[in-house]
């Protein structure tokens, strides 16, 4: 019985379909991280420089995303945007949008934190050389902040990848959704399908996520040792 369940994974195009679903999840994650990362750097930079009002606005933006669970965020974008704003994209792009906004919020805080933890005396050493604000940012703050922000960046990426599991809820044909289709098509004949399909997806997520979190851990350890 258990045997028949595992065969379902390789029957027909099932395995290829699952991999296709995984690819959907991965590229949505990748694009969101890319777009969200760019926005996040911009927002984070603005948060260290701007006047009170701009800071407050970005702070509120961040707090909104801190409070609203990502599932809810997906539904907000999925239900509200098309109707209220006539935005009419396919589900995958809705997902990219929702994730991008979320990543931008979280990443802006990582970037702000990193920029602020560049030691003050480094900035002063730059000032003492006569660097102007723009030069200080490009030659001193940014390269050092990048190092400081790297572990946080990777950590966020792992979370985004894991969160793609929610795409199923807004009908994106992600790996879980395809898994459910397979389960539905075979469950009656092979009751253990559910176990093998979810098991495979579980492992797939682990395979994608683990190297990143391993890398993050190593970076953090190294930076501790340098200290």
């Amino acid at each position: 019985m258990a045997h028949s369940g595992i065969n379902v994974l390789f029957a027909g195009h099932n395995f290829a379909r699952l991999m296709g679903g995984l690819w959907t999840s991965v590229w949505i994650a990748a694009l969101s991280i890319l777009f969200g990362g760019i926005l996040g750097i911009l927002f984070g930079f603005l948060r260290t420089r701007s006047n009170r009002l701009v800071k407050l606005i970005f702070r509120l933006y961040l707090e909104f995303f801190r409070i609203v669970p990502t599932v809810v965020l997906l539904f907000l974008v999925y239900y509200i945007l098309p109707r209220q704003f006539n935005v009419n994209w396919p589900g995958t792009w809705m997902a990219v949008l929702a994730f991008t906004l979320w990543v931008a919020a979280e990443y802006s805080d990582i970037v702000r934190g990193a920029l602020e933890s560049v030691p003050k005396h480094q900035i002063e050493a730059g000032e003492a050389l006569g660097l102007n604000d723009r030069q200080l940012f490009w030659y001193v703050s940014l390269p050092q902040a990048f190092q400081l922000a790297l572990p946080g960046t990777i950590n966020l990426a792992t979370r985004v990848i894991k969160t793609t599991s929610l795409l199923m809820l807004i009908s994106v044909m992600d790996v879980i959704n395809i898994g459910q289709q397979i389960i539905e098509a075979n469950n009656n004949e092979h009751p253990t399908t559910v176990f093998w399909v979810y098991g495979l997806i579980f492992i797939l997520y682990f395979i994608v996520d683990y190297p990143l979190s391993w890398w993050e851990r190593r970076l953090r350890k190294n930076s501790k040792e340098v200290k």
């Binding site: 379902v8 029957a11 027909g12 195009h13 099932n14 290829a16 379909r17 999925y78 239900y79 945007l81 098309p82 109707r83 006539n86 009419n88 396919p90 589900g91 809820l169 807004i170 009908s171 044909m173 959704n177 395809i178 459910q180 289709q181 397979i182 389960i183 539905e184 098509a185 075979n186 469950n187 009656n188 004949e189 009751p191 559910v194």
Partner: protein, 250 residues
């Protein structure tokens, strides 16, 4: 209205694609076989509609509880997802002529069949969010605890694992399901009035609504639904279900 125009017959033809919302995990109405191909009673109809319109069909997979929003948010032009016509739904979407009849049924274990609503009191009942079954049990106080799921896959798995004593959904696919799960039976065949299932379009989309009405009438006349039934449903149903239980009279 700009939004309605996006789904007018002219717009669809111009685009060359009609977007039709279907289920992906509702065997045998809308599901995906192991080759990754969408099949089922609704899907069969969808493909025919595409052919008759002379456009390609793009499927949008939905769950029971986002069928309305899929239309309202312009993600699909037409819903063919076992969409039961109800008073409430009529207020927010426009239904075309029905192409199936249905009523809410209850499935339970053969060994402990639930044949009367009163037996449900104090028990657990599985339903799918956004279905007529949910409507029914929300409106009729039966003293049952509802377990609400997002998808068909989830709800049937939950039933099999004994997470509740019964499951309520459209009787049309309960029949199919019990065929493969012979220890269960559709112990209540009809709850409430007989209802019908229709294609739905966004409210105000007269153009597509009229076209669809004509299409249904035409298909009904030339026996399309019988063919559809025989090909997509019959193999999954038990002997006790006849074409007449599902499709409408000509």
């Amino acid at each position: 209205q700009a939004a309605a125009n996006q789904s007018s017959v002219a717009a669809i033809k111009k685009r060359g694609v009609i977007r039709i919302a279907v289920f992906g995990d509702l065997k045998p109405y809308g599901w995906v076989n192991q080759d990754g191909k969408r099949v089922g009673y609704d899907v069969y109809l969808a493909r025919q509609i595409g052919k008759d319109l002379g456009v390609k069909v793009k499927f949008v997979q939905v769950n029971a509880n986002n069928r309305v929003d899929t239309l309202n948010s312009n993600k699909a032009d037409l819903v063919l997802a076992n969409f039961t016509v109800t008073k409430e739904r009529k207020q927010i979407v426009d239904f075309a002529k029905p192409y199936m009849k249905v009523s809410v049924g209850v499935v339970s274990k053969k060994s402990h069949p639930i044949t009367k609503l009163s037996q449900l009191k104090g028990k657990k009942l599985i339903i799918n969010k956004g279905t007529t079954a949910e409507n029914y049990f929300t409106q009729h106080q039966t003293g049952v605890t509802q377990l609400k799921f997002d998808s068909k896959t989830q709800q049937f798995n939950a039933l099999k694992h004994g997470r509740a004593q019964a499951l309520a959904d459209d009787n049309s696919y309960l029949y199919a399901w019990v065929k493969n799960n012979p220890s269960y039976t559709v112990s209540i065949k009809h709850l409430g009035a007989q209802q019908s299932i229709s294609p739905a379009v966004k409210k105000g989309n007269k153009s597509l609504l009229n076209w669809t009405n004509k299409e249904i009438t035409k298909l009904n006349k030339n026996g399309f639904f019988e063919k559809d039934f025989n090909q997509e449903l019959k193999p999954y149903f038990g002997k006790e279900v006849k074409a007449n239980d599902i499709i409408l009279e000509k």
